[in-house]
Structure formats: C-alpha cells, structure tokens
Amino acid sequence: MAKLTRKQIAWRVAQDIPEGAYVNLGIGAPEMVVNYLPDDREVIIHSENGLLGMGPTPPPGEENPDLINAGKKPVTLVDGGSISHHTDSFAMIRGGHIDICVLGAFQVSQSGDLANWATLDNSRPPGVGGAMDLAVGAKNVFVITDHCTRDGQPKLLEKCSYPLTGSGVVTRVYSDHALIDVRDNSFIVREIVEDLSEEELREITGAALVFADDCVTLKTPDL
C-alpha cells in the first residue's frame, strides 16, 4: 500500500509552517520538520527548555553541553535567538504564544484528543515532560504519526483508549497516508496519498472520515 516515509511526512508538515511562525517541534520525528523548511522562510523554533530561535545541530567538535534542546541533543542558536528559564519558557507555551507545535502520537480521537505519553502498561515509569503543556497551549497542534500501529491497529479513533495528553487539542494529523484536519468532532481528509482509495483509508481508520470536497492527492518529493 502507498505510504509516506517519515521524512516525507516531515516535509509535508514543513510546507504548512508560514513565515514568522513560532514553532515547537517535539522529540523524535517532529524534529525532522526543520530540515525541510524552505531556505527563504524565516521560522522561529522554540525548545521548551528555554530556547527561542534554535538553530541546527553544531558541527562535530563544536557541541556545547550547556546548549541542548528538549531532546537533550546539542543544538545552536541563530541570530536573534534568546534564552529564558523554564518557568518563562512554559509561560510562552501555556499562554498561547506558540503558533504551532508538532507532536508524535499513540492515538488521536476525532474530537482532537491526544494520547502520546502513557500506555496501559504500568510496569514502566510514565513520563510526560512538556507534552501536556504544549498540547493545551499551542495555537495549533499538528500530529505526525503512522496511520496504524506496527501490528495494524488504527491510531485515529473515535475515542482514545490510552491516557490522554490533552483533550480537544489536535488541529491536524499528518499520517503516512493522509493529511487530516480535526474539526467539529470529525476527521476531515484534505489530502490522501496516491494509489490509496477512500475506502482503503476508511478501513485503516478507527473513526468515520469526511472527505473534503477539495480533497487532493498528498504529494511529496522522494525522501
């Protein structure tokens, strides 16, 4: 079945980030979005540990252990970047000043509920980090996710079965099969990958889908 690579999903997300946006990129796949922003587009990247204007990974040997991102990897600051302490950084998040945050997901519901921090396995210590603050605080919550789990279970559902990260927060889902808006308690398909039928997409989705009148093919470069 046609499906996008992680890099292709990240590329697709990057196209939706406008000039001047303040953007927080979650740990993992969302971090890749930064690689696909057009060179002529100025976007300001926030990292919740107190960086605004985060730049690319430094060249080997130039890493500063005191300049890391939320994923605890060495990064840089661009010109115009600034440092704040954690409480101020989360004031930015909670206060609605981040335009877009991009997060991963275990599950997303048609009402925009997001589950991405804990499973039902209680043997492992749970960890939430900044995900709940980002989910509730960012103006737009974009989710990057595979459409299904590795064993084929749908991740887009009527209702999440895992503990929630935030309720009614997801605005758009970028899966390996489709670009789906979450609005008015519905999944609205805006773009679908080539060679996948509407019916096939419905089969791997755990909730009803509404296909937008102007639904188009989800096209990306080979990545």
Binding site: N49, I68, K72, T87, R94, R124, P126, G127, G129
Partner: protein
Amino acid sequence: MIDKRVYDFDSALDGMTDGATIMSAGFGAAGAPQELLEAVLDRGYRDLVIISNNAGEGERGLIRLLKEKRIAKVVCSFPTSSNSEVTKELYAAGLLELEIVPQGTLSERMRAGGAGIGGFYTPTSVNTPLAEGKEVRTIDGKDYVLEFPLTADFAFIKAREADRWGNLTYNLSARGFGPTMAMAAKATIVQVDRFVELGEIDPEQVITPGIYVDRVMEVEAS
C-alpha cells in the same frame, strides 16, 4: 560584610539531613549540580525526596544516588533517561515512589512556592490522569486544574558566575530550572564555575539575584 561564598562541601551542605527534600536543577545534564549531589552521596544521607525535571541522566549525580538507594521519592516530569536503566528497575521493584507532574506545572508550582502564591489554575492536564483527584474549575468557559505550590528544604543549582552576595549568571540553556528553584527552597546552594567580584556582573544581567541564594561554592567540573 555579607559573604555567601563557601570553600568546601561540608560548609555547602550545612543543615542537610536524612529525609530532606532537595530541588535539583538541570535539564538532563545541562545545569545539573552533579558535584553537590555526589557530596550528599559521599556523606551518607538517605531517604531523600528529589524534585527535578528528570530522575537523573547519564551516570552522574541523581543516577548515583538512585543506584545507592538513597532516594525515596522523585517529583519530576520525565523520570527515565535514554541511557539509564536504574530508574526503571527501582520503579518496577517498588523501591521508588514517583510523582509525575507536567513540566510547565512543575516549574509553575515551584514559582508559586517562591512567589507566595497559594495555588493557581492551569489548563495543563485537564481531562488527563494527572488531574485525577484535583479540583477542576471552569473560568471564562475554559477548564482549569487547581495546583498547589512546591517548596523544598534545599535547592541545588549550577551556575556560571557568582559574587559574594550570591548574584548569579548561567550558561545558555543550563539556566533551566535554576532561577525558579532558587526562589522556592529554604536554603539555596549553588555550585559555580567561578567567583567574580561584587559589581562585576552588570545589574541588568543578574539572572538570579542574591536574595534567593544562601551559599555559593566554586566547583571545578569533575
């Protein structure tokens, strides 16, 4: 003359006891007061309650205290680090109590503790398991959870520069939780890269004013 500088770990840790609650700054290894934590380890203190974003990272500081079973409870947002198994093992064995708090709420609760705020309503964690048992209130049509202040006996902080009044600067993202924890603890102990003379730090560039700091000690990274 006011002089908050100390020159050995015994002086830095004056008043430490078994069972103490310690806020430990740092996000991962950046800003982590590893040497102060290890001085606590070396002196045998146990049953500690740690408030920190992570329950350790790498092989230093909190991880060493965890391995030696000195920590009874950790209040944190994200306990496990990619390169340490000890937290998982202790938790699975029932030997470690964890209180998971969303990162922004953790930080805001410490600020409340330091700023005299008795409680605050946050939208973070509404409708999640972390809001269970907490008061939820609708304000202007939006739901909020009531959260209460966090304080501690000690805050351990790593900073870049300190003068004898305890004014601090930090190094880039190692700033982290330091400025907030300094406000919220009864005794704030700071390990710094270097002492500077009073007046050397531009008044506009003091990040933590000395009013929040009790002792500063120059510690070479080890």
